[in-house]
Structure formats: structure tokens, C-alpha cells
Symmetry: D2
Subunit: 285 residues, 4 copies
């Protein structure tokens, strides 16, 4: 009942999780016996398989979350808590075109591919060929990526996209690429950035200040896990405290007058009010 080529999570009684592709004829060898893929394929998700030595193994479908945590990594990946927020803020989804650089190991790429689906499009870039290959390999492994093109390219020389709906940069010095953004996205597009340190955030904010960008927001997403114990409910002892700062903004021209505008008569009314106050103070003194 489980289709071949699905990604499976095997969970052992010791709660260890192994993520594997279900390939016809494969056998998974553990210290506690072997498990044949063909036997697993006859089960349904959530069922218990048995190794040759009788160990029960829970057979779970790899969810999007499992895929994101299960890809091969040669870089720090973007974590699901941040990916979730990024995908929502960028409006990933059917019919949308999202640009990304650099792809790194491809965790965000994978999620964008998932959400955009066959009618959407993901245009990814990385200047290091090692990573464009790794990201593609991870997409293939996950059975995703048909809507993704990955360019081996340094985006400080330009993106391989035009008129995109949104754009995300996960790179050390994204401020060096800001000048290339207008050619890549449509007016009003949402832009996102992930940066691990505060001096980087300051440098990016400085860069955004001088370009056609507005509605700048900075935030952190914290996921606090709890122990799922009804009678002794409480937060877990430790948690991830930091992965990175998220910056979001929109591509839109600066309008100096916008920030300084006063309604007609406002200045005059204010001057009048001030004069009246002075007068009142004088007659009271």
C-alpha cells in the first residue's frame, strides 16, 4: 500500500528515526535484524513492521517537516520554524514565482517547491557548484523539484529571473546584491533575508535604506518545545535559542515627501495653536 520511491521514516523502540527511500528489493540492515522494503510496501503508514530478529519498527511517512530535517547537509540549513515563516511572508503557493539565492543544501528550495506545486515556479541560485548539485540531489531524493531551476551563478552579477513575485536571500553579504533585485522581481514584490548576526542585520538595513525598498521588518522566530506529559506538563529543559534574524521588506520606490507630508493647513493650525498657548501662558503669568 505504500508506493515505492516514497520517503519513509523508520522509528525504532529506542525512538531513533531513520529516513530512507522505499526502493524495490532494498533491505535495511540494523543491529537488531533486517527489514525488506518489499515487506514495508505491503503495509500502510503508521503500521509496525518486524525485522528478521523481531524488532518492531514503526513505519511513518516522511512529512514535509521530516524531509526538511532529513536532507543531506553541507551547510547550516534553514530550519523549519524559519522556513514556515518565510514561505508565508513570501506568499509561496500555486501560480507564484519565487527567486532564491543561495540555495545551500536546498532546505528552503524544497519547501518552496512543495508549496508552489506544478503551477508555481522556483528560481534558485548559488555561486558554488557543489551546492547547486547538492540542492538538486536533495530535491530529487524528496521527489520534488520539477518546478525548480537552479542556476550556478553569483547573483551579485544578476539574477536569472524577471518579474518574480518574491525573492529570498540567504547569503553572507546580501547588501552587495540589492542593486540586482529590481531586474528580478515585479513592483511591490516581497523580499526576505536570513542573517545570523546583528552586524549583518545593521549592514543590510543600511543597504535597504539607500535603495528602492520599504516596509522593512526584522524579527526572530522562536520555537519552544514542551514535554508532552499531561500530568507533568512543562517546557522542555533546553531549546534552540537562535538560528538567524529574518528581514522582510517590499520593492518599492522611496518617496521622500511621503514621510514628511503634512495635511494642508496642518502647519498653519499648529502655529496658531502654539501662538494661542503662548498668549494664554503670558496672561496667566
Amino acid at each position: 500500500m505504500i508506493p515505492y520511491n516514497s520517503i519513509i521514516v523508520y522509528v525504532t523502540p529506542k525512538k531513533k528515526r531513520y529516513i530512507k527511500k522505499l526502493t524495490p528489493g532494498d533491505v535495511w540492515h540494523t543491529n537488531d535484524g533486517a527489514l525488506a522494503a518489499d515487506a514495508v510496501a505491503a503495509l500502510e503508514y503508521g503500521a509496525i513492521a518486524r525485522t528478521s530478529l523481531g524488532m518492531p519498527v514503526r513505519v511513518e511517512e516522511a512529512t514535509l517537516y521530516d524531509l526538511l530535517m532529513g536532507i543531506k547537509r553541507k551547510t547550516q540549513i534553514i530550519y523549519p520554524k524559519d522556513i514556515a515563516q518565510i514561505c508565508l511572508r513570501l506568499g509561496a503557493g500555486p501560480d507564484r514565482t519565487i527567486v532564491e539565492a543561495g540555495c545551500g543544501s536546498g532546505s528552503l528550495t524544497l519547501a518552496l517547491s512543495w508549496f508552489c506545486g506544478p503551477t508555481g515556479k522556483v528560481v534558485s541560485h548559488d555561486s558554488r557548484e557543489e551546492f547547486t548539485r547538492l540542492a538538486r540531489r536533495n530535491l530529487d531524493w524528496a521527489g520534488l523539484g520539477a518546478n525548480v531551476v537552479i542556476h550556478n551563478r553569483d547573483v551579485s552579477a544578476g539574477f536569472e529571473a524577471a518579474g518574480a513575485d518574491a525573492l529570498f536571500l540567504d547569503m553572507r553579504e546580501p547588501w552587495l546584491c540589492l542593486g540586482q533585485i529590481p531586474q528580478a522581481v515585479r513592483p511591490g514584490a516581497t523580499l526576505g533575508f536570513l542573517l545570523p548576526t546583528t552586524p549583518q542585520v545593521s549592514a543590510l538595513l543600511d543597504g535597504l535604506e539607500t535603495g528602492p525598498f520599504g516596509e522593512v521588518e526584522v524579527c526572530e522566530i522562536l520555537l519552544r518545545p514542551w514535554k508532552p506529559l499531561a500530568d507533568r506538563l512543562r517546557p522542555a529543559d533546553r531549546m534552540t535559542s537562535h538560528t538567524g534574524f529574518l528581514v522582510f521588506c517590499r520593492y518599492q520606490k522611496k518617496c521622500p515627501e511621503f514621510d514628511s507630508w503634512l495635511a494642508p493647513g496642518t502647519r498653519e493650525r499648529k502655529q496658531l495653536a502654539a501662538a494661542l498657548e503662548k498668549q494664554a501662558a503670558r496672561s496667566a503669568g
Copy 2:
């Protein structure tokens, strides 16, 4: 250039945000002059419009985030930070069927509709007709909802769904509906819950313990906003501290032997080790 019936965010120089549908012939009246929809339609997103009194107004596209924050509310809505995490954990997306109850004002419904797109499906429920109507109205307003059916139904009597990929409950006593879940979802499906208080979380964990559910996780998502000032970068003074606890699990049969299983010979080896230790202690004493 901006299509009629788009949802627009108008931003004033005072940073007030007004979310409105761009309807042919409409005029938006402000204290600082009127703005005709037909004039706005000729602009592109991110441009500056002018009211009749000369006030500059930034014309922004309503993003998914803006839509979620802009719907009409008669209940506490689910917040984007939680919606993002829920949609990722449930694997919302093309080709997926997601079940939900209660829909409330429809904020999660809207995001599920966005992510699932024309090839996915959202089956929503609420026992209060007032809310099924409100959620539909909000979907219509946002130009979404073609993939959504909303049932006016108390799901403690069963869901209007079968074989769904995932299911989410945002209700006061979700433990009363757990028995109906197996009929609604496929084996291995991811289930999610939002609960504001810890006694509710404990009650739900108790309920999950007695049914065919596993891989239970509890967490909170915190979004900490920062002030976007390069030279004086720092967190905002105040933040939302709590919206709700998120609980995720999978629909899968309990397997008592799974948790208690020991590899063949483990017990024997442990007994032997203990006996040897005792003997060593005795000869040392």
C-alpha cells in the same frame, strides 16, 4: 495595471494601513481627501497615489500576511506565526486534502486555501452557522476559497471527510472529537491542535494517550520583532507573549510492545552484567 477586485493596502504618511478591495468606480474618503479606485487601478504596486487634497498614499498589494490580518473577525483569529507553522507541519500544498474545525473567522482556512491551490482541497467545519458564513465571506473577499467546502456541523458527531492527509482542530474541547478522527483521515495522517491554556493541553494529551495516536509534540511559536534601525538595532520594547499552544501528532495505532521491546538477549545480558558487578563489589569489599 492593478487588476480590479485585487485587495489593496493603502498606507498613509502616518503609517496607518487600510485594507480595501479595488472596486471599479469606488471612492475612498479620508480626512485628507478622496481617492478614486480608477486612479489606483492605473498604478503599479508600491506606487504613490494622491488624494484630492494632495495626501500621498502608498498603494501596496495585500500579501497573504495582510489578508490574514485583514479579515473580519468575530473570534480570536489564529495568528500568522502559528498559521505558518501549522501549514508546514500539516504539509498544506497542492494535491493535499486538509480537514479543519472550527473555522472561526477563517484565518487558517484562508491560508490553507492559498497553499493548497486548485489541485488541493480544504474541508472546514464549524457548529455555529454565524462562523461558517463569516469564514466564507472572508474567503470570498480575499478572492480565495474555490477549493474550500465549509460544513455547518458539530464535528463531535463526525467530520464530512474521509481519507484526508491532515486535520486541524481549533476548538475548546478537541478531546471530545478524537473518536471521529479515524473516519476522516488516512492512516499516518498528521493532526494538529491549537489550545490557549495548559489545562486544555493536559486534557488533550490525556485523550490522545487513550486513542490511536502517536508522535505527540507540543510547542509554542514566539515571534520577537526588532526595531529596524541600523545604528540602534534592538528588539522592540514589547511583543505578543502568547497566542496558544500547538499540539501535533499522527494517526497511528498504539503498539504496546513497541515501547517495551528489548532486543533478544538484552535482558539476559543485563542480568549477567548486574551479577558480575555484584560479584566484583563483594570481592572488593
Copy 3:
């Protein structure tokens, strides 16, 4: 220059910290050579000592924080971040009498002893003799405790104190001891509690509701460490997410009328306002 019997922290080039009492004639043996206490005593705090193999060792004074983290533990200790908040809320300090139960390993006892000094007093209790002895040993080791008495006593049968300024309970079921508090503290005294789980907090709140207690507050203290790197400033990757919930309140009689009181004429004014509104609605209709 460093007085004998001081508590010293030795820091090695690998950043390992060893906390030790400076005892005349002692020698500290490490894998990288020996260090004589008498040589250390000739230094000043912050200086570098050398082992017999030439390893440089930073000689630091054990601060209050180091003492709290360095005591022998047979229980979960209360952490400095919580101790700091507790001592401030209880108003530990000269001339104050603070009651505590159970003392556990004595970390809070130690801090209370420090802050209250020779003119203050700490009255501690634990029902397990093992812990009264351990706490005393830790106080002796730290060179503190002259102002502390520790009773081997189950406080559900009463405290060995009367008229104290404040009281703190770190025990599994503090609600069982609430009836003994009035005999132990003076009217208006601040009471504090530490509890690891939410069901315990709920049970305590229920207990406080039925007794002479008011101004109840519940909070958590989170300490988020940052990496001290000027150029790559950012939060540490992981942090302690949870130690316990702190509950504070005051010993003061309930006054049912207090919560329900309305200023004379308030009800009448409200009735009049409602009547007028109705009338206005009718004439408008």
C-alpha cells in the same frame, strides 16, 4: 594576598573551570602538572599561576554566582537566574528574616545567607535529613551560613519560625503547607514558590484562592546568553528553556467586598445611563 579558605576558581587554557577551597599545604594535581595552594595564596585574584609542567592557570575569586553553581548537588538546584528574582521579590537583605522549605542542596539558602548578612536571618527546613546536612555542608564550604538555621522538619506540620518577613517554598506539593504559613510570617509578608510543572501551578493557585493570600503573580525568568563576539554578535545557539515557574503572593486576608465594591451611586448612575440610552434609541427608531 588571597586569604586561605577562600573559594577559588581555577580556569585552564581549555576554559575548564575547577572550584576549590584554598587550603594551606594543599596541592591540586592536574594532567598538566601540580599547583600548590601556597603559591596561589601569594597571588592576587585574576592572576596567572603555573603548574609544575608550566600550564598557565587563571586564578579567579569564586563570585556568588560561582558558589551557587559550584555547590555539591543531590537535587535539582535552583538556578541563579531564578534565585536573583526570588531574592529581589522576597526583599532578602540586612535585618530581614526569610523562611525557606525545603532547602534541597542549599543553593537558595546560600544566596539568602549572602544577602541577609550578619544582621539578617534565614530559617530553612527540609524533611529529609540528608538534605539538611548537605545544605549545611555547602554553606560551610562557601564560608557562609552563620545567619542560617536549618531544621530537619516536615513543614506541613508547621514552620520553626514566627513573624518572618518573607517565605519561600520549593517543594512538590506546597499547597499542603499553606495552612502553616500564617503562624510563620508577619501580616503582609511576601511568599514565593517554585514549581516545575503547570498542573502544580494550577494546584497551588487553587490552594491560594481558598486561603488568606492575595496579589498572586506567576512568571518565568528566561536568561538568553549571547556570543560575546563584536563582529559576529548573536545569541548563543541553545539556551535553557525551562527551570520552573515562580509564583509570588502576599499573606493578607481575603476581603470579598473588596473585589465587588462599587462607589456609592455607581449602580444608580449606571441604571440611569442605561435608561436614557434606551429612551434615545426608542425616539430614534
Copy 4:
């Protein structure tokens, strides 16, 4: 029973809190009647007083926490959550001498005075006379400050202290004063800093790097309040997200060799191991 000149908190049925000194003959006038200090003096803490119009008023002792929140402010004060951590890390207490600059409105000064008591000493500085006067007035009001001297002085020209146990700086550019610290404190002393923004933290870390300082730590303290409701226990909706970053370190000479030291033979052993590995690789290739 309540001594005159005590600081009292009056709590009204609407939960408003008013902090006042109990002065003989005084009358406190409210919209709901007057309350004579002499009547309050006859009560005990926690009791209910009555205004002339019958409003019940809870009479509470001002705790250290109430004093800290109740002082007159002309600056951003340091908050109790941070003060608690600072006092613990600096080891405020009897017999200790703590140096501080600038005092601002005097909230930390007040807490240091409380914890250090008659046998300790607080030496405070501020370059603005307005604040030295305000801090003293707040100390007087609170009945504290006998152990405090406040200097109207810019500490970039030196502190009015020598050999202190610990030192705290709450100023915009503390890095300009680092050179003066060695004259003010004893070797090994703990130093603390409060800074609102990350560029300031980076600048301070740079400054500490070039001077005789070590064991640098950076952290934030977060206090998350919960709603004290047994049946609906949960965090409060909103919280203070940021007050400032705390930096702690010790005054101790840098020792370049300390950080780079290798045990005798370590380098040689490492070189040997590397050579052996190379050889093995070669013969395997």
C-alpha cells in the same frame, strides 16, 4: 502598627496601585473619599482601610520591588528583572563596596543600597547634577541611601573610588570609561554593563578586548508573566520583549600565552599523528 514614614501601597477595588509615604496628619484624597494616614497607621499590612465614602482600600507594604517601580523617573529606569540579575552577578551584599555610573533616576542605586546594608557601601556617579539630585531624593523617599555616596562627576575622568568589589556602568558609551576602571576596583572585580542596542554591545566588546578584562559574558533577561488562573492557566498576552543587554566581565590582565598554551609535547604529538595519517593515506591510495 504601621510605622510612620513607611512607604505604603494603596490598592483600590479597581486594582489601581498608589505608592505613598505614611506621614503623620496626611490625608489622601480620592474620587471615592479621603483616607487619613493616622487611621492607616493603626492597621497592619495587608489590612483593609475605608475612605470617608466607604471605599475599601488594601494597605500594603511597599516591597523592594514596589520601591523600584515607584521612584520618580526622568530617565528610563533599570527594571527589577535586570536589577536582580545585576545584584546577584555583582555580589551586592553586606560588607561589599559597589561602584556605579550613571545613577540616572537611581533604581539600581536603591537596590544596591538595600542589599549592601549598613556594613556595605555604594559609590554612585552621574555627570548630570539633575540626576544626582533625583537619585538622592528617591533614596531619601525610600528610607534608604545611608550607605550611598553620589558624585556629580563624569567618570570618563575617573571614578571617586578605589579597590571596590564590583562596578556597574549604565551609560551610552561605557567604552570611553574603561581606562578608568583599574583605579576604581580591586583585581578580579566583577564589572557589569547595561546597553540597549546591539551596536553598543559590539563597541563595548571591542573596547573590552583591548583592555585588562576577561570572562566576558553577554545575556538578556526575559520575564514572561502568566495569568494566575488555575483553570485557564496560560502566559499573559503580551510581555516586555526588551529592556537591555547585560554584559559582565572581570578586571584581570590579559595573558596571551593563556589562550594559546599547549601542554608540553602536545604539538609534537599532534605533528606525529598528522605524519602517520598522511603515511597511511599514501599507502592506502
